[in-house]
Subunit: 358 residues, 2 copies
């Protein structure tokens, strides 16, 4: 039965994909181990994540979206290390064999795996026992030349600039829209936040709503950018827990402080929402957008530091890269407003256990 | 919180272990990716397994045993491929933070990881949401020289001998003893089997009981044997689902039949239980033991095929290796009795979903 499931939903398309990489995938699904060949003088990079139904994805999410996002979040870790994908393994713990879900899930997984040339090379499916919810784990493998050892989060240096790809916070807007659609918005907002968030969502242009929902459900891992940043970036990570929480990992490991410029973050949002300044309460809306950037997670955009003499080289890599801050002596994350006053940003990355215990 | 958990239970000891492998583990726990260096001209071997509480381990198993076995089953896949361990990742999905369980589990995991020089290099802990049971996934990485591509299960050839390490079936005896101890033996035995199994368990010497329980809870992956079999074995796999079910993977992939000699399997058991022939119903007991070998799982011993001209080289590797059969044209698994009659063995490997649905 387990073999049947793999053959039916995962082996046929991905077997073809693995066969499209005969120089890398020497043996894929079906033996005790998968056997992968790295390029000569390349190192192995690996990352793993678990997603639990109801915690990391909605039970009624389109399974295609769940499949896409499961691999996207792992590929994003490779991107943050400047590694290129080799393949991945999948573990599925299922309360029942739900053919509709498996068909959609495998289609979403196939889609992103094909797009990033990252074949499924092994895994298992098992009964969830008395667990009523699906649990899935993905482990991804990548490689980079031995001369590139990743972008260690302890490598940020004083005087370096802080950069972002995309517009972190968008996924949080997508989440707010999804909760609003389900009539559960108040679950995400503390009492006095709710009217402000409702005003923001009401003001958002239709196209921006679409972008936000897509950023939440089908984020695009920044693999190509990660490869381009080799030799340019010092510290780098992907934003899964929100800018303030993730950047705090860099500032803590590097024993420095990170100063974020409010004006730069507002410019970032204005590029995506140029009409915002015509809104009655533009300053208030921008403030809430900034809060989503600082505290919202799941964007899977990259955040990195780089010497200022790399500024032009980075800016020319592609559109949508934003220099938003600087590394200074000290500790913690600080938001600097136009008036030059600084406010310490509390780290508020997402804590699954805290959420459960509340 | 998640970082705390990793630091408290997993990072300190394993960080030390990773630091003991500075040439292999360039970066371990704490960054987006772990970075591993393979030896020059070596390939990567990887395998992954999920264990669900209540399905793959008892809720009241000593957590130390669960930790040991979780990594043992993955290391066993490396052994069956002739690969040496590099490291592993761990995913834990937990309904609550159970300090006692985490302390025991990490101790068992540390024990076997240290013994096989296989450091924890990454992973995550997450809330299980509404799931009441723990789920854990382990992905293990190993390496072998490019000249050794593993022991593909499609590589068994007609005329080759079938070999076993250890005494497969022992873990099933351990499971029967565990269920008996819990007063639930009838859950494992169909109606007419029960009295026979009870007679077998009653006849087992105390030392054999201990060996059986240890084989179930703390199996030793045959890593060293797997390395020794490079160049000697053709097809190889580890016995996780029972001899008949696992050998069927070889016979099917290689398009051959496998003949098992009843006398050889009985000799294997007699080495472990020399006094069995003094029992009143020795033939009946041996028959039940054979059934455990054919259908019982979770031994994590190796089963391989090899050309007869390798017989002496294999026999001299170590004690406890048994030549028990031969590969012939045809299909399926057959048991040949002393009287030369052959009986087809039905494949009866363990099916988690079937068990649930019954």
């Amino acid at each position: 039965m387990e073999f049947d499931l793999i053959h039916r939903y995962f082996k046929t398309p991905f077997g073809g994909l693995a066969q499209a990489n005969p120089d890398t995938v020497l043996f894929g699904i079906g033996d005790d181990c998968a056997t992968l060949r790295l390029a000569p003088d390349f190192h192995l990079f690996t990352s793993t994540d678990t997603l639990v139904e109801g915690v990391h994805f909605f039970s009624d999410d389109p399974p295609r979206v769940t499949g896409w996002k499961a691999l996207a979040s792992n590929l994003s870790d490779l991107a943050a290390s400047g590694a290129s994908p080799l393949g991945f393994t999948l573990n599925l713990s299922l309360p029942e064999i739900d053919e509709n879900w498996l068909a959609g899930f495998s289609a979403g997984l196939l889609d992103i795996a094909t797009r990033f040339n990252c074949p499924l090379v092994g895994g298992d499916t098992t009964s969830a026992g008395s667990n009523p919810l699906k649990t899935l784990s993905i482990t991804v493998f990548g490689q980079a030349p031995a001369s590139h050892l990743g972008f260690n989060r302890a490598h940020a240096k004083i005087g370096e600039e802080v950069w972002l790809s995309g517009t972190p916070g968008l996924a949080r807007l997508g989440l707010l829209l999804e909760y609003q659609r389900r009539g559960r918005l108040e679950q995400l907002c503390k009492g006095n936040e709710l009217p402000q968030v409702q005003a923001l969502l009401a003001a958002m242009p239709a196209q921006l709503r679409q972008i936000a929902v897509s950023q939440l459900g089908m984020p695009v891992p920044r693999i190509e950018l990660g490869l381009q940043l080799r030799g340019l970036a010092s510290a780098c990570l992907d934003l899964s827990d929100g800018l303030s929480g993730d950047l705090a990992h860099i500032s803590s490991a590097s024993e420095v402080s990170a100063i974020l410029f409010q004006s730069s973050l507002e410019s970032m949002w204005r590029k995506l929402w140029p009409e915002i300044d015509q809104q009655a309460n533009a300053a208030g809306l921008l403030k809430i957008l900034l809060e989503q950037t600082l505290a919202g997670g799941d964007d899977f955009e990259l955040c990195w530091t780089a010497h200022p003499n790399r500024h032009d080289a980075i800016q020319s890599l592609k559109a949508g890269l934003h220099c938003v801050g600087v590394i200074e002596p000290g500790s913690g994350i600080w938001l600097q407003s136009q008036g030059a006053s600084r406010e310490r940003v509390s780290s508020c990355s997402f804590n699954h256990f805290a959420e459960i215990q509340n």
